[in-house]
Symmetry: C5
Subunit: 352 residues, 5 copies
């Protein structure tokens, strides 16, 4: 129940001044690492920066990657080094904060959620991500060490693609692209589950109500996290953010296209999950109907017959039929006739 | 049934001129207290002001806290002291008025609802709150004495945080922050109830329809009260209210973020409560289906058998089978065969 | 079926030129009265004006109140006296016209619906109301004599409140206020019915489907009539209508606040009625489920037992059990065991 | 299945160039008539124009009424005479084209649907209508000869109302008014059906699901056809179309009011039809519940009693109760007690 | 499960730089053909261009049609020949990309979906289509060789219609028209299926839930593909794209009209499918109700009668009725009376 944590945390903070650095999320003893990668078309250098300091060099793009948000000390040190507002630091440490984007002419501050598919557990996990980007310097902060940004790092190190020839704007684009790629993986996972559910439902009629319910919840959550990212991108593009050079603009527009496609895809999944829930209920109704028909046919045929048998099971002293020579076959004949009549009635009703 | 009160009160007022000071809400004998707290970075003074008067001092922030709205005399005296429009006074005394914000260049008038979680009763109570804020002077009025603003008061008295160094704009921000914090506590309470309900439903299938219904009502009410507060904040920020200094602007934006998160969170809860209601109904359908199957299986097996037994219970004089040596075992054999046939039919249908 | 009337009337008019004065509504023989009330801070005079004429006096506010719309002659005379467009007269006489507002720099023409709560019949009735207001002259026309505007009239006559000191704009505000007050009474009535229905449903499970259905219809109708009034007020305020003086503006804004609150309240009622309908259906499902369970438990226990009894009721000559010394108690024992087994099965299923 | 026709027709046209004159709709052998009515305040003249030509006279309003759209030759001749764009001709002949409005400074081209109520069949039929209006000349084209515009024609011929004193703008207003009047008749018809359905449902519980379904379809269709007409009127008015003189403007606004009322009325009907469908389903559920209760009460009382009777119908040699003097009355007493106990249980459950 | 492909493909691309040419869609060995058709009013020439090059001639319209998107080499060659941005090439090769439109003053780049109705399989297939259009040069790229554009090609070759006299703008209009025509065919197919389903449902009550579910999915997909095309057209028209000459503008507006009609038509189908699903469920409920009634009537009549028969089947030694002369007829009479009473009860309830 992750949701409770959020609010509990908010409750813990209730009454404190805004800007207080209280970590909200899973506690950890580990000291976060600050990795610096500095490059241009000609050179590149990698380093672990401890203590954090902001030593940008003109003509080089500096990318600081921080793999932990739980340590107030590190965050405060980064805040001083990069001259960050206390409220920015607070938002970074509040790992339950919603995605958002704030941009000025000289700096962009974005919060997003990384999504990880845990193949073994078959569940999606979210991680808080902050990106602070000013001219030539990019600072990324996330909760746990992980491999999401490895393709970007390798691209820089191996000088593949156009990344070494372009600036910090293209780096941020690639980082955001890596984030969005994970959303596609997650959406794929959900779509697969949906298709499996649909297949089961249409073929074998297993009910799967609870699965449909949980799936809908997961689709909603994924959509809730990608939606603000899309809006942030749109604003970056329409505001003609000065940090983005005209050459790199099309790549941002391309990423926005991807996000649009993703949101549309999730909307389709959402519609489908609602249709599926409806279909499940309708199929259940139909099955009840079928069960009822079987019961009704059996009961309606045999209850009257049993009544007739009951009549001739009575012990009255004077029951003339009992001594008739063909009383027994006649009774059986009456029963058979009644049964045939009933079966015809049901066939006429279309129940057989 | 709080709702009736509102309208009854409106009815009571029907026909009176606008601006009439009629208290709408729970009556009380208590005389409200007006507490003054005056401070700047260097000094602070606390006082009970009786009768109310507006003696602001240049260079100091004056916060008047009134803990009662039921006493027309006090409200009228405050109105005169602070030169408030009769319609403002009317809105303050009408404790069922919806939240709103009116701002001019020199004064902001806001109505909001305080929410209290009554842990023992397990219910949410709302309290009417008015904030009137002009240059250097802040007047807060609410229905009952309470502890909501105590953290702010202590912050000022103990000179913790940055509150003593900033002006009335930051004070109002802190007061509004204290209000919003209570909404998080309330939302937490509702989310917890929702999770408990969901857990019960998925595990034990207790129906909880009434609980879901009431919970949905409470979520709607909470959302209805926070929504106008969010809009008021947005307007304060986008209108560039002159009372808010540039230094304090980010803190307002931060609070707006919190409100946005809250509204979004409540929307999620609302969706979930609808899904849950649907799931409840679908599960009930499924259970009916299951009950029907049990009935149908039992009845469909035993009714025909009972009919066969009935046949041989008839008292006809001439029933050849009755005198057969193996008539009885044969009859039992026929019954057993019919029962096995039925069970196979049900297995084929997937009902077993 | 009021709705049919509307359309029938439209049908009756089909093919006539626009501007034709055909009364749509309940016919009446009564000749409408035109009452004039002329006042300023110093003097006031009351009169019955027959035939209608427009003799405004400078420095005085003139309020003409007409209590009938069915008499084409009176309406035409008023039209000539006050120089009204034929289409305005047509809209006035069409008592089924929707509320609307038309304003020019010199004249405001508004159509609204008065609502009356008939306590004895427990139903809401609507009355067509027209207000024509130009500088210093206010003309109100409604269908039947009634008491809605009596508080305003008494306020003027007794010179209570600020009405005698202000102009026609404040008079119109008070008249509209009197209209809106009636809507609050009506909304109260509907909310009370809703609460009663909810109480009955949650306590005794009376079904009340038809009541919920009718109530929803009434809520929708009330909302449909107040909604255009709200929009009209908003337009009057945002267009800075020159007929409204700055002093009176806040009173219009105050009325708009009331309307907003009312619409929001009705929206809440509407949501609640939908929730209630859903709950009703869910509860009915649950009850069916419960009924089914009782049937299933009884039938599932006794049908097999009856079958066993039927077996030993057969008249085969050779049934060894029948002559056993403990045959009878053994049969009873078998039955008891089967019954206990069934009861355990049901307890395991959670049906008991 | 009118819908298929539309698309079949589209299919037939697939691949042809835009502007091809292919009639879509019911074929006919009849040659359309072009009737000319030319008038001003002083004179009027009527004529059949064959072949079509455009001989407008200054100072006179010319109205050409064409009663057939199936004849490509006539349409092409009209196109040449009035200098119409090929795409306009194509839209006229495509009788399944949606309503629309195109206006330039000198010409207005509108497509609408005439609705006819076929009282005998109890169904609504739609007819394609084109109006082309330039200074002083109005051209109307519809599918079949009919009486819709007869009141307007008579108004002109008999010089009643203000039509002879005004220009082509007023003529178009009257023609559109005649169209809208037919929609009111149609809406009346649907509302009547709805009320009848509601009455039946609430009184006798006839189910009427199929009727409700079809009615909803018809309401949607009517709304779909009036909606674009409303939008067209709104655009004509807000664009201040130069063809409409200031004197005639209010009459257009009046017609827009009517359309607004109609759309609103149809929206109400739509809501009601949804509510009604829901109510129908809820009532059906309730009735199932009632049926179940009867079955359960009867079965639950008699099945155990029959079991007791079955016990004493067994043929065991040693059944002491059978030889008791009061065995029979005792057995009856036990049954009666059990039945009373069951009835009390049902009364407690509220099922009786 | 086409959807999985999309996402799998995205996954395959995850981590690559934007602009990488990776084909997403069905692989193929075939080498795409590039056909050139160059024409003006006077001349025309056809050719297969291999390798692709862009040799436009002034005064002629050049249309390059490429019938394959799977071959990176061809696409790269086209990119160089026509100076296309790498991101444009990437979008072309990603056959699962959503429809979109990008326009600058000199070039329009549009992505759309071709729809094919496979009459034999009874299913709709979609094909990726790219159109790149700059002054006098039109480049179309789609996945498979096909006949969609054959009418346009023939129109040019045979010089029918106005196509040879107009420029590239009219060619694009005709190509888009050919695309939209296929959507009409597809919508016709879906409407026909819907009508068949409706007919079956209303006549024979076959349930068809799964068919309705799939149909709804197909309607949604078709709508999702035509919707962005409509928006693209609207933007082309409202932005007054300089590539479109004033003469050709009306033809674009005409196409937009068609698209609007199509979207509206699909919305209607969507509404109808929802209504139909609801009706299906309501009819199923009614049928269950009917089944229940039959069961209840039969059981309620015969269970008590069987009980009476059971009574007189008991073997008590002292049962006075058994030796009565008219005991048997009396018992039968009692049963008959009870049965008649039950039947009356059911008739009163309206169940018969």
């Amino acid at each position: 129940m992750k949701r409770k944590q959020i609010l509990r945390a908010k409750q813990r903070k209730a009454g404190t001044s805004p800007g207080s650095l209280i970590h909200i999320g899973q506690a950890s003893e580990r000291k976060p690492t600050v990795r610096l990668l500095r490059y241009n078309a000609a050179t590149k250098e990698e380093a672990i920066v401890d203590p954090p300091k902001a030593d940008a060099k003109a003509g080089l793009v500096s990318w600081y990657e921080v793999d932990g948000l739980h340590d107030a000390e590190t965050i405060r040190a980064l805040g001083q080094a990069f001259q960050l507002h206390p409220l920015v630091l607070e938002d970074l440490m509040n790992t339950e904060h919603s995605p958002k984007l704030e941009s000025t002419d000289t700096r962009v501050f974005a919060l997003a959620k990384l999504v990880h598919l845990d193949q073994q557990q078959g569940e999606l996990n979210y991680e808080h991500l902050g990106i602070i980007w000013s001219d030539g310097v990019v600072l990324t902060l996330h909760e746990r060490p992980g491999e999401v940004f490895d393709p970007v790092r390798q691209s820089i190190v191996n000088a593949t693609g156009r990344i070494r020839g372009l600036g910090a704007d293209y780096l941020v684009r690639r980082l955001l692209g890596a984030v969005v790629d994970q959303y596609f993986v997650a959406a794929d996972f959900l779509a697969e589950q949906m298709d499996r559910l649909e297949g089961q439902l249409l073929a074998k009629r297993s009910s799967g109500l609870e699965v449909a319910y949980k799936l809908r919840g997961e689709i909603n959550q994924l959509r809730r996290h990608i939606q603000p990212l899309r809006e942030a991108l749109l604003r970056l593009i329409t505001d003609h953010c000065v940090l983005i050079s005209p050459d790199v603009q099309p790549f941002y527009r391309d990423l926005l296209d991807h996000c649009n496609g993703l949101v549309e895809f999730l909307d389709g999944l959402k519609d489908q999950s609602a249709s599926l829930m409806e279909l499940t209920m309708a199929l259940a109704d139909r099955q009840t109907n079928e069960v009822m028909k079987v019961l009704t046919i059996i009961a309606t045929i045999f209850i009257p017959l049993t009544f007739v048998a009951g009549i001739y099971g009575m012990n009255f002293e004077k029951m003339p039929e009992l001594s008739w020579a063909y009383g027994y076959p006649a009774a059986l004949g009456v029963m058979l006739t009644a049964a045939i009549f009933m079966l015809r009635f049901f066939r006429k009703k279309g129940w057989l």
